[in-house]
Amino acid sequence: MNAIFALGLAILVIGVLSVAFVRPKTYVARLINLEIPAWGLLLIMLTYDEALAILTFVAVTAISTFVIVRLLSWRDASC
């Protein structure tokens, strides 16, 4: 198995587990942990040679982070 693929799988599993069992149960910690599996998935996509797909994935990850941040700021100080 390719080393990049194995590393991506490991980071993906670590990230998914950390999002599921987040330690300080706040929205900010969960949002930061949500970034980890995104980078793992990017590393897996690197194994299949599609440059445009990776570019789109990176951009969409950043935009979805921004959308979630706006969503969190609508709920007032409760988070």
């Binding site: 930061i32 942990n33 980890i36 440059a51 700021s73």
Partner: protein, 76 residues
């Protein structure tokens, strides 16, 4: 890439991921996320996708700044 370099940068990425999952402070989490990006960037460059590397290097801090907008409000 040579096996030793692959092991070194993979170790950096794994350490960044594990510490970002386990650290409880939110600034520490963001710094560990930077360590994770530093670990995976040489793999992207080594595959030959320099344009993808430029995009990742420019977009990763922007995502961090977005998260900081929430972390600042939580701190106050």
């Amino acid at each position: 890439m040579i096996l030793i370099l692959e092991a070194a940068f993979g170790f950096i990425a794994l350490v960044g991921a594990i510490s970002a999952a386990l650290i409880r402070d939110s600034y520490g989490k963001l710094i560990s996320l930077g360590v994770l990006v530093a670990g995976i960037l040489p793999f992207i460059v080594d595959r030959g996708y320099i344009d993808v590397a430029i995009t990742v290097a420019l977009i990763a801090p922007i995502a961090t700044i977005f998260v900081l907008m929430v972390a600042r409000r939580e701190e106050a």
